[in-house]
Structures are given as C-alpha cells and as structure tokens.
Symmetry: C3
Subunit: 191 residues, 3 copies
C-alpha cells in the first residue's frame, strides 16, 4: 500500500489552514488567502520535486491538491473570526502537518532510491520550506529560525527514524507512523 499520497493530502490540508490563517492576520483579500495557502501547502513538496528532478511536480500531475488548498483557504476566509480564537488548536494542527509532511517527503526520496543523507534532507525540506516561503513572503521572521522552537530539529529526527526503520527492515506502516509521531511529539513539546 502506498501511504505517500495520503500523507501528501493530509499535509496540504493542514498547511493550507496555517497559510490561510497567516493571510488572515495580514488582512489579505480572498485571492491573497488562496495564494498564501497554496504557497504554504505545496511549497515544500514543490522544492522537493524540483530538487529530485521528478518528471512532474506532484500538484501539476494531480491538481486536486490545489483544489484542496484553495477550498481550505476559502473556508478559512469566511470563518476566520471563529478560527482565530482557536489559534492554539491551529499551532497544534501545524505540528501534525509537519509530522505528516516529513514522512511524505522522506518517503518520496526513499522510493526513488536516494542515499540516507538525501532522504533526511528531503524530509526536512518538504516539512519546512512551505512555511519558510510563507514567512519570507509575508515578511515575518521565519518560524524555523526562532529560538526554542524545535522545527527543523523535529523534522530531522523524524526523517532519521524513517531511514533507520527502513534499514532495519521494519514494516513501512510502522516506520512511517514512527516518523510522523516522533516529529509531531518533538515539535509539539516545544510549543
């Protein structure tokens, strides 16, 4: 069974949510919401696909990812008043997205037969570059660089576990789950 599309959809959904909430803080219009949501949601995976020189970027091959991100941004646009008071829940959701995206990013590099170093780097890049571009474009200090926030470190540890599990010959379902859970736990513990 192939987990990666499921992981990709899940991370696109939650990163679109976090991107749209940043757009809400910046008081952008509807297209601005959709723009920042898409950038956050597919940015990390796009960098991964371009660096790995895959035949097609994942959301160009399957535009449903974009539909999901845009739909999410529209929902947030019309419900942001309610959601903003749930900011804490969102930060937690973002931690889930990180865990999921790291597993998806590492998994793609693993399936393409890359070396452990590249697998770990692609996990970190997929998990962190969407949020990094969101923060750079919105002129905010990137979350990834803030002190005391285990962001890249959590992604790094999660990817490492996925590589180790694979080399030990564990069932993929356990390896991917361990990667998601460890990344989420480390990130959530530092919130």
């Amino acid at each position: 069974m192939n987990f990666i599309p499921i992981l990709d959809y899940a991370s696109v959904l939650v990163f679109a949510l976090s991107g749209a909430l940043v757009a809400s803080r910046q008081q952008l219009d509807l297209i601005g919401f959709a723009f920042i949501a898409c950038l956050t949601a597919v940015g990390g995976g796009t960098i991964r696909d371009v660096l790995l020189n895959r035949d097609a970027v994942f959301w160009i091959e399957e535009p449903a990812y974009i539909v999901l991100a845009v739909t999410t941004s529209v929902v947030v646009f019309f419900t942001a008043h309610r959601l903003e008071s749930r900011m804490k829940a969102i930060v937690w959701a973002d931690a889930v997205a990180l865990g999921v995206a790291v597993a998806a990013g590492s998994g793609v590099a693993l399936k393409l037969g890359h070396s452990p170093i590249i697998i770990v780097l692609m996990g970190v890049a997929t998990g962190s570059f969407g949020g990094l571009m969101r923060d750079v474009v919105c002129n905010e200090v990137p979350l990834i660089l803030k002190q005391g926030e285990l962001y890249a470190s959590a992604a790094f540890a999660g990817s490492l576990v996925l590589v180790l599990g694979e080399n030990l010959g564990l069932q993929p379902v356990y390896t991917y789950a361990a990667c998601c859970v460890l990344t989420f736990t480390l990130r959530a513990g530092s919130i």
Copy 2:
C-alpha cells in the same frame, strides 16, 4: 501564428523597466540595476518553466531576453532622473506587463496540454513571481500582498478568460487579447 514569444518579449521589456526603477529607488550601482531588472523580467517565466519541467528555461534557450532586460536597465540607469518624475506612467506600464505576462504564462501551459487549473496557476505565477522576488530581495512589502491592489486577482481573472475562450473554441488572437485587456483593466482600475 505563435503569440507567446511576442508576449514574452513585451513583458520582459516592461518588467525590466519596473525592476530597474526599484533599483533606482534603492540607489544601486549599474550591476545592481541589471541584476534586479533581470530578476523581475525573467523571474516569473523562470518559475513557470521550472515547475512545468520544460526542456530549457526560456531565456537560457534564447539569451536575447537577457540582452533586452540588461539593455533596458542600462537605459534606465542613465535616464532615471527623468523617468522617476514619470513614476505614474511606470505603474501603468507595469499593469500592461502584467496583462501580457499572464497571457504568455497561461499560453505556455495551454500548449503543453495542461488542465485548466494549472493553466490559470501558471498565468498567475508568470505574472506575479518576478515582481514578488524583486520585492522580497529588496526587502519591500510585496505589491501582491498590499490591500486594495488587484494584482493576483487581476491575473487570476485574465487567465480564467483565456481558458474559457479556448474551451469555447474562439480564435486564439481574440482569446489572448481578451486575457491581456481584462488583466490590464482590472489592475489599472485599482491603481
């Protein structure tokens, strides 16, 4: 007849102009002018070509685009005093460039046989990413995110018209013209 190179040259010329004027505000030297002019002029189309995994980025295949952008920046460097008092004319020219670049970007994706969503996204990306990178590098608030400025929205509407016209089987010359005019009109109306 193939409109796309004509549209590409026109947008490179006017975006190079807008980039060089930002370089003038930042009081850069001649190489700085050329650098920011090239980034603005070919940035959006470069992102488009990398995302679509085209065989070659358009200006690497045809360096005349770069020659045009650099020449424009040199002219602005030596005439900026005169041009700066014409700032208003430049903002209008930038709106023309947006209209033209959106048509060029959507057209490339259309010819490669992509789905409507991707065609629209490539139109928006080609039109806005050059200016976005210019603003990020120069540490200014991206124009695309400023309130009340119809930038991404105008690009979105223009791309949509191009997709609709194509699906209705209209003559390309009318479809491309409608895309340029609508994008320009919406953008210009919000200046």
Copy 3:
C-alpha cells in the same frame, strides 16, 4: 583535468563557514547552524543546476558536499566564540569563496556548451545566490545590494575573463585561475 569539483568543494567549505557565522549572530541552535550553512553553501550551485536542467543537482548526486557543509557548521557551532573575533578573516574567506564559486559556476555552463551570456550569468548566480538566500531567510539586507560592495560586479568581471580566456584558446588552468583571482581581488578591494 577537471577543476570544477575541486572548486565546488572549496566554495562549499568557505560558504558554509560564512553561513554558520551568520547563524551564530542570529543565535540559532545546532540544526539552525546546519540549515543556514547548507543553504549558503549549496544554494547558488543548486539554482545553477535547476536552471540548466542538469540531470541531477550536484549535491544530490554527491552528498559529500552536504557532509562537508554540515561538518563545517558543527565545528563553527562549538568554536564560534573564537571565530567571531576573527570576523575580518571570515569576510576575506568569503571573498575567496566568491572567486572560487564564480569559476565553478561558469565552468559548468561552459562544459554544457552554453552561450557566453549564459556562462557569465551562471557564474554570477552560483557566486551570489547562496549568500542572497542566506540574507533573505535571515531577514538581513542582502550583501549583494549594499552600496560600495563590489559583489555582483566582481562576479561579473570574473566570469567575463573566463569566457574571454576560453575564446582566446588559453589553457583552462590559467583561465580558471584568472577568473578566481580577478573576482577575489575586486571583491577584496571593496571590503
């Protein structure tokens, strides 16, 4: 003899050093050091490889570059107190890295048979985009845009010499050396 890998390793080493020192100024943790060091060290060459559509980005084909950058960042992390007092030496080392990276970047485009304009642009991009991304991510004014700093100009002149030397049929060893030395000298002269 193929100089390019030697030049690439040398520039990765010194750019990783400069990236790690910026991370030290920003008081990042160990993973933050590694992240900024890698971005600075391989960023320019990555942009070059993506733009030229090479089969694989150089550090994905040969992860030893990443190992070198990470190792450098770890050394800086534990010795930064000593190194910060040697800031002046570092700026000089960065000028060496620029010279070396410009030669490496131009050389790759030359070997792929590109036109002189593209060779010069790839030299400038390889030399300057790593530092540019470092500064954008760290929210500092890009060094490349600061007045009085010959950065892009030095890279431009160095690349030009490499193209000229090649067209005059000079021995590559002299052409590459002239490119490195001229870029370094111009950059160093403006510090």
